[in-house]
Symmetry: D3
Subunit: 253 residues, 6 copies
C-alpha cells in the first residue's frame, strides 16, 4: 500500500497513526537551478528520498504533505524563484506537524532538498522544544546525508548549487527534466569569485549570506557537465541508507 | 513545452514572464474525503483544471507552485486532515504572488479545489487591493465553476463534500485513487441532520461554520455511489471552459 | 429594559449572561456612499436590524459593542473612507467574543451592514472552530437577508453599493441623513463599465476584487433616486424576520 | 453642519480634509462602572467632550470614528466588560489615523474617556513618531483635563473609578443612564484596601497594575452618591476648554 | 554573595528562587545624551539603583538580565541611538518574566533609567494582568522616584533629558564617562522652544510625543554644568530608599 | 578611545559612523552552565572576543549594544535559564541593525558566545538579504572560530556545553566567576547517553534538537576539571585572529 498520506483515505490515515509510524515531510525550494535544471529540483530530490525511505521501511513511516516552496531569498534575482520568509516557512511546517499530532503522530522527519531551509528548520525545532516537548522533530538535508558519495565524485574546486552533485541526482531521478544541451559550467574556481564572495565561502570564518548573483552570473557553482546518473544514484542511496538507519533506531528508542 | 513553472528552468521562466502570461496557482486541501476518496482530492482536482486551462491557452498562462494544504478546521476531527490557519494560508499565497511579481508577472488566478479556502482568498484579494494595486488576483473554486453540469446530475437532497459531484470528478481524473468498494452514502437527507446543522445549511439565513462531524459521521454529504466518470468529465469541462473564457478576456483587457 | 449592553450596568449584564442570551454584534463600515448617503450608512443599518431583532426577542438576545469601521480597501480612493485590514477586523470581533465568553455567553451573531466584511467573518468563524469549539458564531449581511424584498424592487440593470436597495433602507431608518437633493445615478448599465469591471461582475466566473473607482466615478452602482422608504422598510423587515427565525431555532437547539 | 464624519458624505469629507481640520477620535471602554453606571460610561463622556470641542471650533475640527471598546483587563472579573489587548487597540487607532491621513489629514487628537488607554496611546505615539513623522498625534484623558474642577469637588479619601468625578459627569451628560437608586459607595478609605492594593496606590513609588476586584468588591472607588450634575458640568467644561485652547494653538502653529 | 543572576550558577539560582526573592530587571536606553554623557547613561543609572536596592535587601531580591536598549524613537535623529519598537521591548521583558516564572519567581520589578519605556511597561503590565494573573509586575523610573531630591536642586526653567538631574546622577555613579569639558546648556527656557514644542510641554493639556530635535538642537534640556555629584548621590539615594521600602512591603504582603 | 558605543557620546558615534567602521554586536545567552560556571558565561566570552577584535582594529570597528539573553529552550529545565524565542531574538538584533543603519553603518558582525543562536542568526541574514540588500551581516560563534586550539586540547569523548573548551575560556577571561571547587564532570562518554540522545549527536545523520536534561543530569558535557586558563587563552586568541582577518578583508572589499 502507498506510504503517501495524500493518497490515503482518512480511514487509512487513522490506521497508520495507530501503528506509531513516523511522518516524513518532504520540503524543497522553487528556485533557479541554472540553465539546465528545473525550478523544482530540490522538491523532486526530497520526494525521491522520502519515497525510498518509505519503501525501505514499509508500515513504519508515512509521507505527509510537502512544502514545494522554501527559503530562497538568495536566488530571488533569477526569474521564476519563489521564496517564503523563514518565519512563514517555519509556520507552515509547524501547522503540518501540529495538525498531524492531533491525530496521534509524535515523530516528524523533514527531508529537505534545499540547504537554505536548514536554519529555519533549526529554529522550528527550538520552538517545538519549548512549546511541544511531547513531539520530536528531526530534519535532514539530502546532499549532506551523502558525504561519502559526494566526496568520491570529481568536482570543480568551487562546486555547489546546481553543480556536479545536484545535477547527478537529477540525472538519476528525473532525467527528462534535465536540459542536457544547456548544462554549462558556472563559477568553478575561487579566482572567479569577487573578494567578498570568496570571503563568504572561506572555512572557519564568520558566516555570511550572499545573493547568488554575486557568486555566479548563471547561478551555477561547479560544472554540471561532469555529473553522471550513476553518481546521482550513489548519493541518493547513501542519503537514503543513513536516514533509514536513523529512523529505525528512532522508532526503536 | 510545459506550462508548469516547476519544470521550467529560470531561463524558461524569464521568457514566460516577458510574454505577459497569467499565473495559475492550484491550491487544495489535505483533508478527509470519506471512506472512498484520498486526502489530496481537492489538490488533485485543482491541478487537473489548471492543466486543462493551460492546455487550452498555450503560451498565455503558466502554472505556478501549488499549496497542497488548505483551510480545513471543520474536518480536523477526521484522521489525516492537515490544515493551515486562514492567515497562514493567505500569507503563503501572497508570498507566491509577490515573489512572482518581482519577476514581472501581474495577473494571478488561484484555482482552488477546496471551497473552504474561498473566504481566505477573499481577504487576500482585499489585502492586495490595498497594498499592491498594481497586481490583479482572481480566484475560482472548481465545482462552483460548473453550475450547469452539477445541476443536471442526479444528487441526494443533501449533497456536498465527498458526494456525487466531487466523487464524479475523481472518477474522471484519478480513478486509481478511488476506493470503489468503500464508497458509501453519508448524510443524504435533511432529516439525518441535527437541528443546528440543518439550520446551518438553510438558505437566506445567517451563515454558520460547523465541524463536519456534526454534519455526517462518515464525513460524506450525499451518495458517492451515484457518481460517474462521465459526470466528472462534464463538471471539469464546464469549469475549464468558464475559466478559459475569463482568462482570455482578462488577458485582452 | 434595554437590550444594549452598552447601557446596562455590570449587574444587568451578569443577569443577561445567566439567562443564556445570544449576543448580537452590529458591525458596519466607514466608507463612501456616494453624494447622498453618509459614511456610517452600513453601521446605521446594522444597528437598526440589531435593534429590531432584539425588540422581537425580548430577554433572549443582548446587543454587544459594535465595530463602526469595517474592511473597505475598495473604497479607499474616496475621501473619508476608513478601513481596517481583514486580520485586524477579525481580531477585534474575536476579542469581543472572547471577552464576553469569559462572562458566560456562548452564542454570537454578527449583523454586518457591509458585505465587504463577509470574507473576514468567514475566516474568523474558521479560526474559532479550531480554537474555541465551545462557541458558536453566526453572521448575517443585512441586505442579503432580504432577497424577496430586494428582488421585488425596481432596480437598474447594474445596481448595488449606494444604489436602490441601500438608499431605500436609509430613507426608512435615517432619512435626516440622506441628502435627497444630491442623490444621483451612478453606473447603471453594464455598458458603462470598463471591460475588466464587467468581467469582475459576471456570474459563475472567477471572483475578482476591484477598487470602486473602476466601477463608478461617483462610487454609486444603480440609481438611488428610485428608492423609497417603503422599499427600505420591506427590506429591513424581511431581514429582521429571517434573523429572528434563525435565532429562535438556534436558542432552542 | 455636523462635525461628525460618520454623518458626512464623502464629498463633505473631502472638503473638510481640504480645510486642514484636525480629527478628534473619541475612544472609551466597555467596562463595569459599578451598580449605577452603564458599561459605555467612558465612551459616552469621550463623545460628549468631542462634541463640545467641535462645537467650540466650528469648521476647524471633525470627529472621526470612535473605538467603543478599550484596554480593560483590570475590570475583566466584572460581567459585561469587553477588552482589547493594548497592541490591538493601538492597531485600530493607527488604522483610523492612516486611513484618514491618506485623505489629507495630518493632525489627530484622541479623546479618551478611559485612563486605561493612556499607556497604549503613548506607545502608539512613539510608533508613529518612528513610522509616520509627517503626522501628529495628541491624546487627552477626559477627567485628567479638569484638575481644577475635580480638585474642588468633595471626594472620599479614596476616590476614582465610578466614584464622585465620573458619576458627576454622567449625571450631566446622560442622567437617564444613571441608576440613581443603585449608586452606592465602594472603597472609600485606605483602610478598606488590602495591603498590596494600598501599596499600589501610594505616591512616588513603583507603579503596579491591579485587578479591580482587589481594590473594591463592587468595582467602585469613592462615593458616587456625593456627585452632582453641576460638578459634572464643571469637569466637562474645564476639560473642553483646555482641549479647545490646545487645538487652537496647534492649528495655528 | 552576588545578587546578580548573571554571575550565579544554575544551582545558586535554584536556591534564590526557592527563597521567594523578587527579581529586579534593570532596563535602560541606548540613546543620545548630548555632548557630555554616554549613550548608555540610562542603563548605567538603572543598574546602579538595582545594585543599591539589592545591597539593601540581601537575600530578598535578585537582579535578572537587563535590556540595554529601550524605546527611543524620539532620539533617533541623533547618531548612535538604537531603539526597539514598544511591542518588541515589551515582548523581551515578557520573555524574561515568563522564563523566570517557570523557575518559580512571581514578583518582578523593572527599574528603568529611561522614562520613554514607561508607556510600554504599562501596556505590558496590562497584558500580564490578563494572561498571567499569577504574576506581579511593578516598574519604577529612576528619576521619578526621587521627587524631593530633584525638587531641591537648582535647575533651569526648562530642564529634563541630559540636564541637571541626569548629569548629576552620572557624576555620582560613572564620572569617568562624563565629558566634563563638553557639558553645555541645551534648551533652558520656554522662549527657546518653537510654539508646538512649548505646547507639548504644557501642563494639564493633551499629551504629544515630539522628536527631540524639535526640542533642542543639542538634544539637551537644561544646563548640565550646574549638576554636582552630590546632587546625584541624593537622587539615587532617595530613589533607592523609596524602592526598598516598596519592595519590603511587597514581599511581606 | 573606547570602541564601545555604549560609552561614547552621540558626537563620538557620529564620527565613528562616518569613518566607515563595522559594528560588532556581542550576543550571548542567559542559561545554565553546570555547577561551576555562571549563567552569563556566553555573553562574557562574546564580549571578551568583541573587545579583543576591537583592540586589534583600532578605529575600524565599534562595539554596539549586546543581547544578554539568547535562544535557550533546550536549557529551560535548569533554574535561572532565560530564553528568547528565535523570532524575538532575531527581531531584537534586526532593530539594532536597522537603528544603526539609519546613522550610516552598513556592516554588522554578530559575535555569539552561544551556538544555540546560530540558526536564528542564519534566518535573520536571509531576511536582511531580502529586505535590506544594502546591508551586510556576518555572524561568528566564538568556540567554532577556534578549531585548531580546541582540537589540540585534551577533551572527553563526549564534550561540549560547559565542558573543557568553555570552562577554559572562562578560566582565562573571568576566573573570579568560576566555582573551581564545584567543577565536576558531566556526561563524558557515549555510553552515558540514552539511545535517542546518542542518536541525536551522531555524525551525518538527521539533526535533532534535544533538551539538555536528556543529555546530562548536571547540564555539563565533558569534564571541566581538565580545562586550563592557557587553553582558554589559545581558544580566544585563535577566534580573535580569525575574526580580525575576516573583518580586515571585509572592510577592504
Amino acid at each position: 500500500m502507498t506510504a503517501k498520506l495524500a493518497e490515503m483515505t482518512t480511514l487509512d490515515a487513522a490506521r497508520a497513526a495507530e501503528r506509531g509510524t513516523a511522518v516524513i515531510l518532504p520540503v524543497g525550494a522553487f528556485e533557479q537551478h541554472g540553465a539546465g535544471l528545473p525550478l523544482a529540483t530540490d522538491q523532486i530530490r526530497a520526494e525521491a528520498v522520502a519515497d525510498a525511505v518509505a519503501e525501505a521501511l514499509p508500515d513504519r513511516v508515512v509521507i505527509g504533505p510537502g512544502v514545494p516552496v522554501g527559503v530562497s531569498p538568495h536566488h530571488q534575482a533569477f526569474a521564476g524563484t519563489v521564496s517564503l520568509r523563514p518565519t512563514l516557512f517555519a509556520a507552515v511546517v509547524r501547522e503540518y506537524v501540529e495538525s498531524l499530532a492531533a491525530h496521534g503522530w509524535t515523530r516528524f522527519l523533514v527531508v529537505t532538498g534545499h540547504g537554505g531551509n536548514n536554519a529555519t528548520l533549526g529554529t522550528l525545532a527550538q520552538e517545538l522544544l519549548r512549546d511541544r516537548p511531547d513531539l520530536e522533530l528531526a530534519w535532514a538535508p539530502v546532499t549532506a546525508m551523502a558525504p561519502d558519495a559526494v566526496g568520491s565524485m570529481e568536482r570543480s574546486p568551487v562546486s555547489g548549487h546546481s553543480g556536479e552533485a545536484e545535477t547527478a541526482q537529477m540525472l538519476h531521478v528525473a532525467p527528462h527534466l534535465v536540459r542536457h544541451d544547456l548544462l554549462a559550467p558556472g563559477t568553478t574556481t575561487p579566482d572567479e569569485l569577487d573578494p567578498f564572495a570568496r570571503l563568504a565561502r572561506s572555512v572557519s570564518h564568520p558566516a555570511v549570506a550572499l545573493p547568488y548573483d554575486r557568486l555566479s552570473p548563471s547561478g551555477v557553482l561547479g560544472d554540471p557537465r561532469r555529473a553522471t546518473a550513476e553518481d546521482g544514484r550513489a548519493i541518493l542511496t547513501e542519503a537514503t541508507d543513513r536516514i533509514v538507519a536513523f529512523v529505525k533506531e528512532w522508532l526503536d528508542t
